[in-house]
């Protein structure tokens, strides 16, 4: 009896499987973006299926916090989907090295992306790419236009103007000059240090030199952002030490703060919350006319499961993901997650449009700690959180912070030893 049930079950799976073969290829996408499920089902997949009859696509996301673990066990068991949404840097690199992701270097559409865009999903020597870049987030400052008009403040371009504007807002007293807290720590590093920093270390130039060991975290260009952050404390409002990330978001969208050190992922949320007009300005440069650098951080990509039986269909899909058509659908559906392709995308959201426009004026880079440098213990990214908070609070001198981070990095990273 038992055997009968088993063979029945086997037969039915065989039937289903052969049914799938008889039909055309069905691609399954693994992803952690369960927030985007509706977007994929209603917009992206229909657009692809209309252009490519014969290929069906299923978007099958899991919870963000469980994604890495779930994906790993599925890949080990051979039950993972055909397409894998890639986390940036080491998590995906480990999958590639374990042979789970296909080398996509020869995919024609990869030429649609710049080197910075591809860097998050390449081997350390940049010789092989294994995920198609999908989107990035850009750092800068979002400000309350009404407040700026009311106080007669011009949008600051240089650091001197930036602090002059903050002084003016503080003097007036109606608004908290800047909404950021140090309670959750990561904002200080992500929206503080890595937001303003690229202007000091000259973006990619400094980041690459740090990875190669030619520059040290004790060099002036890596220490100076901490000195600037130390000046922020006066403008953050009472009790910023215990202010959390949602607190800061609410302060700004309620119109109580004038400037918000931001990542572009805030746009969608802010649009629904704030009832005033918002603008954005890029991290201020030291002197007028200096080249500006922005953190255009690669955040999400998509790769091909090496064990997939639909390699051809999957490559067709990936080529389409790299196309301007996908970029325009994706970029407009999730404002603030910017497509990475070289072809400019026409975005409808004014704030998103303003921010993405910086790519034409400035040099792009990614967060300094993400590639390679956060592989060891102590972890440079986590250490940078603490250091940025200490800089803002003034509990340690910028030079000492640089020295501590350098010592930590040198303890495990060969090029710095």
């Amino acid at each position: 009896m038992k055997r009968n049930v088993l063979s029945l079950a086997l037969m039915s799976t065989a039937l289903v499987a052969s049914g799938a073969y008889a039909q055309d290829a069905t691609l399954t996408i693994e992803s952690w973006r369960n927030d985007d499920l509706a977007l994929w089902q209603d917009k992206i997949i229909p657009a692809f299926e209309a252009a490519n009859p014969g290929i069906k696509v299923v978007f099958s996301p899991s919870a963000p916090a469980e994604y890495n673990a779930v994906l790993n066990s599925k890949l080990e068991a051979g039950s993972a989907g055909d397409l894998i949404t890639c986390r940036p840097f080491d998590a995906s690199l480990a999958l590639f090295e374990a042979g789970h992701l296909t080398d996509l270097t020869d995919l024609d559409a990869m030429s649609n992306f710049s080197d910075v865009a591809k860097s998050a999903w390449q081997t350390d020597d940049s010789s092989a790419s294994f995920c198609v870049p999908m989107a990035s987030v850009i750092h800068g400052f979002i400000y309350n236009k009404d407040a700026f008009n009311e106080l007669g403040i011009e949008v600051p371009a240089t650091e001197a103007e930036f602090f002059a504007a903050l002084d003016k807002i503080k003097e007036d007293g109606t608004y908290i000059p800047m909404a950021m807290g140090t309670n959750d720590q990561w904002e200080a590093a992500t929206m503080g240090y890595n937001n303003i920093g690229p202007n000091y270390w000259k973006g990619e130039e400094g980041r690459q030199a740090l990875i190669k060991g030619e520059q040290k975290l004790t060099d002036p260009q890596w220490v100076a952002p901490y000195a600037t952050l130390a000046k922020w404390a006066d403008y953050l409002g009472d009790g910023y030490e215990a202010q959390t990330y949602p607190d800061s978001q609410n302060l700004f969208t309620l119109g109580r703060a004038a400037i918000y050190p931001a990542g572009s992922w805030e746009i969608a949320g802010f649009n629904t919350q704030a009832d005033f007009e918002m603008g954005a300005f890029k991290p201020p440069v030291q002197n007028a006319g200096d080249t500006c650098y922005i953190s255009d951080h690669t955040d999400i990509g998509i790769g091909l499961n090496a064990a997939s039986e639909n390699q051809e269909a999957a490559r067709t899909f990936l080529a389409w993901v790299a196309s301007p058509e996908f970029a325009s659908i994706f970029g407009n559906a999730v404002p603030g997650f910017f497509p990475l392709s070289n072809t400019p995308v026409e975005l409808e959201d004014p704030l998103a449009k303003e921010i993405v426009g910086w790519r034409d004026e400035c040099e792009s880079t990614i967060r300094s700690t993400y590639q390679i440098l956060s592989r060891g213990t102590p972890n440079l990214e986590n250490e940078t959180w603490g250091a940025s908070v200490a800089a803002i609070k003034g509990t340690e001198a910028p030079e000492d912070l640089g020295q501590e981070l350098q010592n930590g990095l040198a303890s495990w990273y060969a090029p710095h030893q």
Binding site: F89, W186, Q243
Partner: protein, 304 residues
């Protein structure tokens, strides 16, 4: 000649509890201790003996975090011993007073926080103490003490003590209930005999009741010790896995979690995490043994 029958029913009745307990407690405990003796190199697990413990105690990067967490843990425990348990005893003494009205109401009100989830307690207190939206600053303002307010949870020097006091608020009901029960079990005759000898009021508490409830206080202390050294939830809920500001609220539980499961870009290291869990287990074991053999056996007990 009658052979003794094997009493199968003992095994049968013990089996469910033994099996479940072995599966969910004993096996994971020993497996964790075993895991601490390995490390992973190039995706292969290799045996390294006590190397992980040597790293934990002597490598400056690890040991600094470990001693910081351990020190914070002791402070956390100390605050509970100095605040929670005396207040618990005092509340129980007041509640057991025969002429107190609404005793049942107070008892329930004080005990209710104990049954609340850590998540609720953590978030509620975070909001109460928030410098932006909290009621703490405005309440202090109302009595003219606004200058005393500080963003406590965000300051290195206050954060841990603040969280310890929140935890005291949550759990003060437990010592209160245990002591209350112990106080009620003291026979009236003893107190009356004392009264005849002229011991009444406060001195009756110090000279008669307190010695009689001392064993209960001992049990409460050891429960507090075990609970505090296993603590994790409250810190994690209110300060996150990095136990900020600047690791000032980091205790062994959060340190272990961060190491075992990884955090942000830091990948998890189950082997070092297990070593920390092993150290926690050892600390608690030593503490409990000191109590059992050093204190409890010497405690004087009175026949009531």
């Amino acid at each position: 000649m009658q052979t003794r029958r094997i009493r199968w029913h003992i095994a049968v009745f013990l089996a469910p509890a033994v099996l479940v307990y072995t599966a969910v407690m004993i096996f994971p405990l020993f497996n964790t201790l075993r895991l601490a003796l390995f490390t992973e190199v190039d995706q292969n697990r290799i045996y390294v003996g006590l190397q992980n413990f040597r790293t934990l105690f002597f490598d400056p990067i690890w040991s600094e975090q470990f001693w910081n967490a351990l020190g914070n843990n002791f402070w956390f425990f100390l605050v509970h011993m100095l605040v929670q348990n005396p207040i618990g005893v005092a509340l129980a003494a007041i509640l057991s007073h025969p002429r107190l009205r609404f005793a049942a109401l107070y008892r329930s009100a004080i005990f209710i926080p104990t049954i609340l989830s850590f998540v609720i307690v953590g978030f509620a207190w975070k909001l109460i103490l928030s410098p932006l939206w909290g009621i703490a600053p405005s309440m202090l303002d109302a009595v003219g003490l606004k200058s005393l307010f500080a963003p406590w949870l965000g300051k290195e020097e206050y954060a841990l003590t603040t969280l310890a006091l929140v935890s005291v608020w949550q759990f003060v009901g437990i010592p209160m209930m245990l002591i209350y029960a112990a106080l009620l079990s003291i026979p009236e005759e003893i107190l009356e005999a004392g009264e005849i000898d002229g011991i009444t009021g406060a001195s009756a508490f110090w000279k008669i009741k307190l010695p009689l409830i001392l064993p209960s206080i001992g049990i409460i202390s050891i429960l507090t010790f075990v609970g505090n050294f296993n603590a994790f939830d409250l810190i994690y809920v209110s300060q996150g896995a990095l136990a900020g500001p600047d690791f000032s609220t980091d205790i062994l539980g959060t340190f272990m979690y961060r190491t075992f499961f990884g955090f942000q870009l830091q990948l998890g290291d189950p082997h070092m995490g297990s070593a920390i869990a092993g150290a926690m287990f050892a600390i608690i074991l030593v503490g409990v043994c000191i109590y059992l053999f050093g204190i409890q056996t010497r405690m004087r007990r009175y026949q009531m």
